[in-house]
Symmetry: none
DNA sequence: TATGAATGAGAATTCATTCAT
DNA sequence: GATGAATGAATTCTCATTCAT
């Protein structure tokens, strides 16, 4: 379960504890890269700074990740998981279901990893793919929740689709928006808004 | 009115005609930078490539823009305008007003510049600020449209605010989302959705 | 007559007034160069900074001084004059004569120009020559003063020579020493010292 | 004991033997810089020339010395030592003591490093400080020698001070003067002169 | 595995100098 | 004379990557 206010550092610390079999150095390299890529971007981050922040010698980074891009790819591969479990939706409670979706994104990833997912999606195919899958999964869940909650009469599949997409857009970019523009959006309010819209 | 399919080149060519006093070289440098920054990103674009595409010697880039970042800043300063005109809103027609807002973002910028605005918001404060102003302006207009459309005594300013922010988020990132995930969002549907939500 | 405490700025201002026929721009360029060469050195001073400080366009510097080195050479040629007048020496008063020599170096040059003379002597022949001539002239005068002041018995030409050279060394480098090490030397005290030494 | 005619290269070669743990490349870079800075000056020496003379690739210079100025600073830090040992002064023999001081400046540095110390004092604070310390140390020793040599109750500390400062000035700049103006000063003669002056 | 020196291509930037107007 | 855009070689500095140990 993600705590949106949890820092990247705390997040990865807890994860490190959870998978102690990770080579310490390799994990520290990924931790450092996560922090730096999220902060300054992949291109602007020298591998030497990663090594420095990780407290490992420069050569070791290339021992584990032969090319710099492998650090990013590994980060995305190992630290963003789009969970595709069954959606738990209560019939009739669209707002609540969306709220729960907002609280538990189908994404196991630190806030830092989420930023990386957006920021580097332009440049690197594997990142873009992961982001696409995440987007689809949120939409799928939102659609499911809304369909379940709505009274039988269909026909407005398009409206449900728009609602799901809207919700996904807000969830996905909420953090970025806040960081970039300083404007905060409350996912619960959006959930309720969208649920209302479909009645 | 923006033609999303218009290329950055065509767009700026038409603008060049509008300001013929622009030094040819300086304009060509900005044109080239616009294209390259939009394509590969600021960090990944060497100034030498800008000069090459602009057809000017490397040194001239630094004659006009002492530091590389000045190219980006000038681009944003000179080629993106957040328009703050009066909102034309019809009382009672929230959906239509939002739709019109979606169709004509209060942003005068080429498609390329829009990508740059979103993509490089991390890179420099001035870009971030411009994006923030755009976000605020969209929210302001959406809020105005929704307030006008709603029956007099509604006290739930919070809901209106959430609706406006949601709309802004969807609009702003619609292009990015589409580019990144291939998923298209129909702004009109979102406009109607949000208008509905407040009844 | 030089006031050692007079600043370079005041000095050149008074001189500018004294030769109003100087082309204003050319003079301002030399003024600026004088200040900058003295402060940061010839090599470290771009011609663009000279133009900027002089308040003239960059091209004008090269109009008057086709190569950068010409600025330095002109500066030395025009703003350091080793005066080779007759020495006024009172027989019997070596200390007083040396003191007067210290107070009125046989050099018409601002403090800034004196620094330039030392600093750039390594690199540029014309500067070195001027410095050499100045050194010789001081020694010549000091020798003359000392010979005049001393009782008839010669034989200690070597001692007189050492005394004159010492005095010249102290005079010439006194400013530099002070600037570099913060240690101040009183020329009068040295004059008296040297005069005493020869009795 | 310094051999003034010993080349910088020979000098540092002998020192290299003394610290064989020095990385060969780093030492060669400093050797090359020493030679080039002494010859043409810091500003006029490109790092590429240093690398070339050292026989190392350009990048290695920056591996050891992240900024060019670090080469100069390291050179001064590591290759000039102002020795602050006890002064060996014979009571009553001021001239001899000063002579000995002249012959063995309290400075362990190659001839090249001495030139650099004087020439680049403007360029960086650390160089200036080192030169200042050398000046102070010479003055301290000269003062000590003169005080010891003088009859007990002399109260004219000011004259001793001027004498010491004069001696330091002559010693410090003797090399420069000679190089620049071709005029040689005999330190022994100056020592005797100054000793005489205080009687 | 682990290390940090070594490498060199390439990036940003500087700057003297030219030149058309 | 006066101007500032234009030029490109040279310079400082960066950095991914290799490699011997």
């Amino acid at each position: 379960m993600d705590h949106p206010l949890q820092t990247a550092k705390a997040w990865s610390r807890s994860r490190r504890r959870a998978r102690p079999q990770d080579g310490d150095a390799r994990t520290r390299i990924l931790d450092a890269a996560e922090e730096l890529f999220a902060g300054g971007g992949y291109e602007a981050t020298p591998t030497a700074r990663i090594a420095e922040l990780a407290g490992v010698p420069k050569g070791l980074v290339f021992h584990y990740f032969p090319r710099k891009i492998d650090v990013l790819v590994s980060l995305v591969d190992e630290r963003t998981v789009v969970t595709e479990e069954e959606v738990e939706a209560l019939p009739g409670d669209a707002a609540g279901t969306l709220s729960r979706l907002a609280r538990g994104l189908p994404l196991r990833a630190s806030p830092a990893m989420r930023r990386i997912l957006f920021r580097e999606a332009d440049t690197h195919l594997s990142v873009r793919e992961r982001l696409g899958r995440l987007n689809s999964e949120i939409i799928r869940r939102a659609r499911f929740a809304l369909e379940l909650a709505l009274p039988g009469g269909r026909g407005d599949a398009a409206r449900v689709e728009a609602a799901a997409a809207t919700f996904a857009a807000v969830l996905l970019y909420q953090e970025s928006i806040c960081l970039l523009t300083g404007h905060h959006i409350d996912p619960d309010a959006v959930a309720e808004l969208i649920a209302n819209a479909l009645h």
